[in-house]
């Protein structure tokens, strides 16, 4: 309570509202009335009346009389602030540099992550009907196997469900015919992704067309819509390609459309489209009796029906295929196009979904970006505060000359803004320059302008920057309040360092967590590449086969084996390195006939030899035994375990459609091999030999070190023997690598993030060191005069700071252990979590911390105590 007894709050309010010229008289008048009211009504009521009267003075006629420039911005002082800012940068270039660097790195990292995340969310966004498009996938539960989601559906599904369900506005099938050779006027070009689609495809997926009409181009049976790349290969720019003829694998087609370049962020990437109906009419795979899935089906529906439709689809599927109990339990489900890119990591046989990414990693990335921003902001605060310790004289003078609190705040906000804006501009420029390299690392096509389509992110960054600037400005201004102007402006800043310490610990903990996770990521990667998958992955070349190749297979094989660079040739109907398809299988044991669906693969006789698979029991296929074709089965250990067979060799077994009385038998047991990524458990597998079915891929094992020669020779032999199909090869180990694409990208990202976190934390530590050692200069001077050696001082200071590091590590360990463990559990086969990552992290952090603090510590510890004590 003031002396006069008027309510202080009201008085302050009045002072704020009234312009200076009027304040005194109004205050006086109110006081006069107040005193009179006290006599008439007593103090309490008088105070109430006073407050109301003050409120009544809040009127535009009063507060609009403020001269605007005075109350909002101190524009007059800006040149002075500018001068002192530049001066402080000149006197402490290291500091300012470190500060700006820290800010720039932090901002760069966050914005980069934001760009990546925005790009991921942006997949397929150019399709106008994206919200209504859904993909049908099959969830299969085979006895003895965990349930699996497969992106493939039956060939007849699309038309059947469209017939039966009115909610389905439109549908299209997407069948990858793989590699075809395009021939026009003697020029041959082979393309890997030729797709057969329904005529409605371009209505659902409205890719832009350079020539031709989207609604009619796929109506006629022999039409083909070609990509821009094919157009460029055969035509000159500006040529009309419509109605030109072109041969695809020796069949005449008429070009009815040319597509513009398919955007990089489309999950579907293809080279040409042909109509599917003529192919379906003649193919038994499209008959109702064929229930295996082999193509994608997309439907367009009102999103609200997405919840109930799957059940109807599943029921129809069971009805049409006549599935009874005991046979595979399949369910049809819908996946929204919004989820196809990010939520398909568990989806198998999803090779048409290009560059898919695990959406859970996106959340992790977003949190990391926020953490980095937080660390950066805190750092900036600490460092700026530390820097201002050198400017106490300036502050004291400003206060003497009459700086108000608002002016001090403005000054510091101004300086923070300068630094911030500089860093932000540099950060953006650096991102612009580095974007192509980042794109290479993450295998994407991120465009800078993309972020403008997501104003949320822009708002987030602008707000964060404003927050950091104002927090820093306000924090420092309030600190300066405590600067007392005494004598010769000695430093009287009694720092409250505990907050600074906590922040450092937080920063280092976060950095430690990131580092441990990075090490674990690398450990698991090494584990993956070093684990023996149970077969040879290296030097295996895979070559596509067509009908002609199958017919000439034996000839080709013999020719190839004559080369000294080729040590093995075999063939199979599937490639290792993804889930293996399966079909019904029967095993006749003492207890009865047991039917289930394992994974099956049709192989050539010497498959096990070429791939180096180990037999645990029995024998491999042999050309000498005629019944090996179709009646001999080699199974893996998992199947034996599941069936609990004690004497597997000789047990009667066969395909589900074999009569139970005329089955073949199991001739051998192969050691379990990881045919899929290490995420997945190994299923029961049956290797069968049916040369009459045909194979789809030749596996050529090349001699180590003679790979290039081997490829050249194989190509020569191929070209001499095969005329209708190009020599297209790939390598099995590359194929396996793609299984771990998400992990590889995460590895690089985590490494970068860990480095960023360490950098920023070190800068924070740098600032803290300066603050605390400055405050202890006197103490150290005294210690030295009392006889402490410089080394002892250095040790004492180092110990003081290292305890923060240890504390951070203690905090970080359990947290990172938890996360690392969770991630490792997503692999069915993983390395064990041992102490190595923690040791490595500890070591690195101690080294970096010591490096950071050594400069200042040594300077102080070895400094002359006379100097520090002189200013007393």
């Amino acid at each position: 309570m003031s002396k006069s007894g008027v309510p202080l709050f009201a008085l302050r309010l009045l002072e704020w509202v009234c312009p200076e010229e009027m304040f005194e008289e109004i205050e006086g008048d109110l006081l006069q009335h107040f005193n009179r009211d006290v006599e008439m009504y007593g103090v309490a009521k008088a105070r109430r009346i006073y407050s109301f009267k003050v409120l009544s003075f809040i009127h535009p006629s009063i507060f609009m009389r403020h001269k605007l420039s005075k109350s909002l911005f101190q524009t007059a002082l800006i040149p002075s602030y500018l001068k002192t800012s530049i001066r402080s940068i000149k006197t402490n270039p290291v500091f300012s540099l470190v500060n700006i660097m820290g800010l720039t790195i932090g901002l760069m990292a966050s914005v980069m992550i934001a760009l990546f995340v925005v790009n991921e969310y942006n997949f397929d966004s150019q399709l106008s009907k994206k919200a209504e498009i859904f993909r049908i996938y099959t969830r299969a539960r085979y006895t003895g196997s965990p349930e699996q989601d497969v992106a493939l559906t039956s060939g007849w599904l699309g038309p059947e469900i469209a017939k039966n369900f009115g909610q389905i506005r439109n549908y299209t099938r997407y069948w990858n015919l793989r590699t075809k050779v395009f021939l026009k006027e003697e020029k041959r070009v082979a393309k890997r992704n030729v797709i057969a689609v329904d005529s409605s495809f371009l209505k659902l997926f409205d890719f832009k067309m350079a020539q031709g009409s989207a609604s009619t181009c796929l109506n006629k049976p022999s039409s083909v819509v070609i990509s821009k790349e094919i157009y460029d290969a055969f035509f000159k720019p500006g040529d009309l390609a419509i109605n030109e003829s072109i041969k695809i694998d020796d069949t005449e087609y008429i070009i009815t459309g040319v597509l513009e370049s398919i955007p990089a962020n489309s999950h579907l990437q293809f080279d040409a489209l042909v109509p599917i109906s003529p192919l379906a009419a003649n193919d038994r795979m499209f008959q109702l009796s064929w229930d295996g899935g082999f193509l994608n089906t997309y439907i367009q529906i009102d999103p609200s029906s997405a919840r109930t439709l799957p059940t109807h689809l599943t029921n129809l599927f069971h009805k049409l295929t006549g599935h009874k109990d005991g046979e595979p339990n399949s369910e049809l489900l819908l996946q929204s196009l919004n989820d196809v890119h990010l939520s398909s990591s568990q989806m198998d046989h999803d090779s048409n979904n290009i560059k898919k990414f695990n959406g859970q990693y996106i959340t992790v990335l977003q949190f990391t970006a926020i953490f980095i921003l937080i660390i950066t902001g805190i750092n900036f605060l600490n460092l700026s505060t530390a820097a201002s310790l050198y400017r106490t004289k300036e502050i004291a003078i400003r206060k003497t000359v009459g700086a108000k609190l608002s002016q001090t705040i403005f000054q510091h906000v101004f300086e923070s803004s300068l630094t911030m804006v500089t860093s932000f501009v540099i950060a953006l420029a650096l991102i612009f320059i580095l974007l192509p390299y980042v794109n290479k690392i993450v295998d994407r096509d991120i465009q800078f302008g993309l972020i403008f389509r997501h104003p949320n992110y822009i708002t987030f960054f602008v707000l964060s920057i404003l927050l950091i600037i104002s927090a820093s400005g306000l924090y420092q201004a309030f600190l300066k309040k405590r600067v007392k102007v005494i004598g010769n402006f000695a430093l009287q800043l009694r720092g409250n360092f505990s907050r600074g310490k906590n922040l450092i610990i937080l920063q280092f903990s976060l950095a430690a967590i990131l580092m441990v996770c990075t090490v674990v990521l690398y450990q698991q990667s090494r584990f993956i590449s070093e684990t023996d998958p149970g077969f040879t992955k290296d030097q295996i070349m895979l070559v596509d086969m067509n009908k002609e190749v199958n017919e000439k297979y034996t000839v080709l094989k013999n020719e190839l084996l004559r080369s000294s660079n080729i040590i093995g040739v075999t063939a199979s109907d599937q490639r290792l390195g993804n889930d293996l398809g399966g079909w019904g299988f029967k095993v006749k044991t003492d207890t009865g006939v047991y039917q289930f669906i394992p994974s099956n693969i049709n192989v050539d006789l010497d498959y096990l030899d070429v791939y180096g698979m180990k037999l645990k029991d029995g024998r491999s296929f042999s050309s000498a035994v005629k019944t090996d074709a179709g009646r001999a089965f080699i199974v893996n250990e998992t199947m034996i375990k599941e069936l609990r067979l004690k004497q597997p060799v000789g047990v009667r077994a066969g395909h589900a459609w074999y009569d139970s009385d005329s089955l073949g038998s199991i001739i051998g047991v192969v050691q379990d091999f990881n045919y899929n990524s290490l995420h997945q458990k190994i299923n029961p597998v049956a290797l069968v030999h049916h040369p009459e079915w045909g194979f789809s891929e030749i596996s050529i094992k090349l001699k180590a070190g003679r790979v290039n020669e081997g490829i050249a020779e194989a190509k020569k032999i191929w070209d001499a023997t095969i005329s209708s199909y190009p020599f297209q090869y790939s390598f099995l180990d590359d194929h396996f690598d793609t299984l771990y694409n998400s992990e590889k990208q995460m590895r690089s990202v985590f490494l970068i993030m860990a480095c960023v976190a360490i950098c920023i934390s070190s800068m924070g530590l740098f600032g803290l060191v300066i603050m605390t050692t400055r405050g202890r200069v006197k103490e150290i001077g005294i210690r030295k005069t009392l006889g402490a050696t410089s080394f002892q001082i250095a040790g004492m200071l180092s110990r003081y700071f290292l305890q923060f590091i240890f504390l951070s590590l203690v905090i970080a360990c359990p947290i990172s252990y938890y996360f690392a463990n969770e991630w490792l559990q997503t692999f069915a086969y993983h390395t064990s979590l041992d102490v190595k990552p923690f040791l490595v992290t500890t070591f690195i952090m101690i080294v970096i911390a010591l490096l950071t603090i050594c400069y200042h510590t040594i300077r102080i510890a070895f400094g002359n105590p006379v100097q520090s004590l002189r200013n007393e």
């Binding site: 009027m22 006086g28 008048d29 009544s56």
Partner: protein, 110 residues
Amino acid sequence: MSKYQLGELEELVLSMVAALGEDAYGAAITDEILNRFSRDIKLSSVHITLYRLQDKGYVKSKLGGGKAERGGRRKRIFTITAAGLAILRAMKNSRIEVWNMIPQLKMKGV
């Protein structure tokens, strides 16, 4: 001479300023109006009106004379200007002219 007509409160306050002479300041005018006419006008209204009148040039003001009862805060004393007097005179004349037209209000000796 401007043709502006003063509002009712403005006229009242201006008149009080002219009447009170050296004691013409916010609180005093408010109290005087309260005592003479039993009109409880808010202090802030009076102040605002005074400032408006000053903006229009009908009064001028000066800070002066702090008293103990005001804790030493000075008062702003308002004085009527020539323009203010002129407009008061004009208003008085026009009022009387109108009132003279009303039979029941005929004034004697004006």
